[in-house]
Symmetry: C2
C-alpha cells in the first residue's frame, strides 16, 4: 500500500514509473536497497515487462543505478552527490531566473508577489512552520523555472532533476532552515526580476540555492552523526 491515490495512466509502464518514483522519493523503498523485479511485479500486479521499462526510466532520472545481469539499486544519498546536484541546480535555476527577468510580464510578476504574501501570511499564522510547497503551483522555484520560457530547461529541471532534489529535501530533517530568511531571499529575487535585472536575479538565485545546500549539508552531517 504505497500509494492511496493511484491515477490511471495511459500505460502501465508510466503508471508504475510514477508510483516507483514516489515510493523512492518518500522513502517507502529505502536507499541502497535492491530492486527485485519479481517481487515488485507481484506487488504492483503487473508483469516484468512494463516494470523493467519503468526501471529504465528511473535510471534516467538518476533514482536508481543499474548493473547488467545484476539489477537495480536505489541510490544512496550522500553529501558529495547532494553538493554536486545543487551546484547544477545553481547553474540552471540561476539561468532560469535570468531568463525570467528578461521575459516575465507584469501580471505574472504581480501574481508571484501575491504568492509571496501568501507565504508570509502562512508563516505569521503558523509560528514559522515550514510551508509545504510540494511541487505544486505554489512552489516559488517552479514558478520561476516555468517563467523562463525555455522548454528544454523546464523539462530538465522539473521532470528529470527535481525527483532527486525532493528526495534530498525530504530525507533530511532540515529544521535548521529559516523560512523567513528564505522568504526574504525569494522576495529579493522577485524584485530583481520585476526590475528586469537579469544579472542580479541570477546572482541572487545562485546565492539562495547555495545557502540552501549549505544548510542541507549541515543537516546531513548532523543526521550522519546521530545515526552513528
Amino acid at each position: 500500500m504505497t500509494n492511496l491515490i493511484s491515477i490511471k495512466s495511459a500505460t502501465l509502464s508510466e503508471d508504475i514509473a510514477q508510483q516507483l518514483t514516489s515510493a523512492i522519493v518518500q522513502g517507502h523503498i529505502p536507499q541502497g536497497s535492491k530492486i527485485s523485479e519479481p517481487e515488485l511485479a507481484k506487488q504492483y500486479g503487473v508483469s516484468r515487462g512494463p516494470l523493467r521499462e519503468a526501471i529504465v526510466k528511473l535510471e534516467g532520472l538518476g533514482l536508481v543505478t543499474r548493473t547488467a545481469n545484476v539489477g537495480a539499486r536505489v541510490i544512496e544519498l550522500n553529501i558529495q552527490d547532494m553538493l554536486d546536484t545543487f551546484t547544477m541546480r545553481e547553474a540552471l535555476e540561476g539561468m532560469a531566473a535570468r531568463l525570467a527577468a528578461i521575459t516575465m510580464h507584469a501580471n505574472e510578476v504581480r501574481s508571484l508577489y501575491a504568492l509571496l504574501d501568501k507565504h508570509q501570511a502562512y508563516l505569521d499564522d503558523n509560528q514559522d512552520e515550514h510551508y509545504v510547497q510540494q511541487g505544486g503551483n505554489d512552489d516559488f522555484h517552479l514558478r520561476i523555472i516555468h517563467a523562463s520560457g525555455n522548454a528544454k530547461l523546464i523539462r530538465l529541471l522539473t521532470e528529470e532533476l527535481y525527483a532527486v532534489i525532493r528526495m534530498y529535501r525530504r530525507h533530511t530533517a532540515d529544521q535548521r532552515s529559516d523560512p523567513r530568511q528564505a522568504l526574504r531571499e525569494h522576495r529579493a529575487i522577485l524584485d530583481a526580476i520585476a526590475n528586469h535585472e537579469g544579472d542580479l536575479a541570477e546572482l541572487l538565485m545562485r546565492r539562495h540555492i547555495s545557502r540552501a545546500s549549505q544548510l542541507l549539508k549541515q543537516a546531513m552531517e548532523q543526521t550522519a552523526l546521530a545515526s552513528h
Copy 2:
C-alpha cells in the same frame, strides 16, 4: 548496415540503444521519422523487448518523443529548440569552466595548452579545415567538463545532453564557423582557468557557446531557406 564496428555490450538493450543513438545522431534515421518497432527489431535481429527498453532510454536522452499507443518519433531539429538547448549548455558549461578554474592542477593545464597547440598546428597544416574532435579526448569542451570534478554535471552533459548537441552540430553545415576564432576563444578560457579566475572563465565560456549558437542559428536559417 548502420554501423561497421559494433562493440559487444553486456546486454542487447544497451547495444541497441547505442546503435540507435548513433544512427539518429548521424542522420541514418531521418528527423521526424517514425520508429517502427517490428521493422527495427527485424533489422537489428532482436526481439521487441530489448528494443523497447532502448527506445525508453532514447526518450530520456531527448532523441525521440513517445506517445502512448502510438509510438516513438525521432525529434525534429528546429532553431528554437537549438537555442533553448544551447542556453542550458551555457549555464552548465559555464559552471564547469568556473569549477575547473578552481580545482584544475598545473599539469592538466599544461596538457590542455598542448592540446590547443596541436589544434593550432592542425589548422596551419590543413588550410583552416575544421578539426574533427568527435567527442574523444581531444575535445576541449569535454576536457573542461571533466576537469570540473562534478560527477553529476559530467554525467548530465556528456551522457545525456551531448547526443542532441552533436546532432545539431552535424546536421547543419557550419561552414560559417571560424575555427581560428574558436581556437582563440578556447585559449582565452584556458588562460582564465590557469589563473584560477573562475568568474572570468565562466563568462568567457558562456560567451563562446553563445557565439557558437548564433552561428548555428544563421546556418540553420540558411539551410531552411535552401531546402525550401
